[in-house]
Subunit: 152 residues, 3 copies
């Protein structure tokens, strides 16, 4: 599995892992599990998507925001484990969408992250998941994604 | 432990595990932990309870919705591990209630799921838990439940 | 590492672990991971902080509420494992802030919990994290914190 070649094929280059925006670590490893801290949709230190889906943001923008969060998770994972080929599987993804009250399409939004993992890691990228809508996210980010990986 | 006999005694039969409503797996196993994807209150492909507790739904309906989510988790677990007797313990349950702003009774709602696990699995069904209220869930489901199980 | 001496140095004594407010256990151990149930900001059985940040509660009060939640998690952990010196690391903290719609500063609020873990456990207290805002928490608590610890 060559994750970065897979990403390159769809026109994506990994960027620098974003810095934590609080008193926590970007990741913590226990046994062969890597718990990443939740990623918001930062790009080069600036949020790409701010605002609630269904009001300031469209569904399509929400999906793009989720994809950006997943990319940030992969960048952080690379900084954590060095070689992304060490990923055995994505275990679990928790997806949070800032959206208008009663928003029903959090799964469609979070598919932006899930599909990116599948493209990057193939079969290993498939995962269990929970997706919910919330009333606010750090810095006004449209999406937050938090992932647990299993590594060798 | 005969989980299905326990359920039968309280008049409940397991149904087909619901299909994922997005780009993810119904479950992922890492070591002896089974991470299930979040279940909404689907029955035969249709949501049994739609709407926010405190507005479209009563507390009692919320509790029933949580119970339905837990049943769906058990169905998915059975499809994952074959024999429910392999469950050593329920480790953790994350419960999300779609409710009106300021709703305080998410624990009462999520007890619908926790009590069902205790009835199905006995001592092994007891678990740690977090329950929160959110502003929207997939498809407008009243409750979402996501569980981690330990198996032999 | 003497966790209680560390807390004493900053003027904090551990209190009795709060009782669960629903049909669940205060903690569940799987392998060398301790999953705690989510803690709200109870002190001696009464919520210290009730209400949404940005409306009934200030940011500063939210931070104090998060600190109280973290202290309650440590008390529960002590009741679970006896000797807090058995903690190898804090693995993951999930932080939920009840706040007004669009609240952006959940990381600042949850730093109240993260900083307390660092003060109590030193390097071992650092952790991965996800922080989100939600529309309601158990009993009207301003904050809920849920933690996974690794022990020896």
């Amino acid at each position: 599995m060559n994750v970065e070649a897979n990403l390159d094929r769809i026109g994506i280059q990994l960027e620098e892992a974003p810095s934590p925006v609080g008193s926590y670590l970007p990741y913590r490893i226990t046994g062969n599990l890597v718990y990443l801290s939740g990623a918001i949709c930062l790009r080069n230190g600036v949020l790409e998507y701010v605002g609630a889906v269904g009001r300031e943001r469209t569904l399509e923008e929400g999906i793009e925001a989720a994809k950006r969060c997943a990319l940030n998770q992969i960048s952080t994972l690379k900084s954590a484990i060095g070689d992304l080929g060490r990923v055995r599987k994505v275990v679990h993804l928790a997806g949070f969408v800032w959206a208008v009250e009663g928003f029903k399409d959090s799964p469609k939004v979070i598919n932006g992250a899930s599909d990116l993992y599948a493209q990057a890691f193939g079969e290993a990228g498939k995962h269990s998941r929970a997706a919910v809508s919330v009333s606010g996210l750090p810095g006004g980010s449209t999406v937050e994604v938090q992932t647990v990986f299993e590594i060798t």
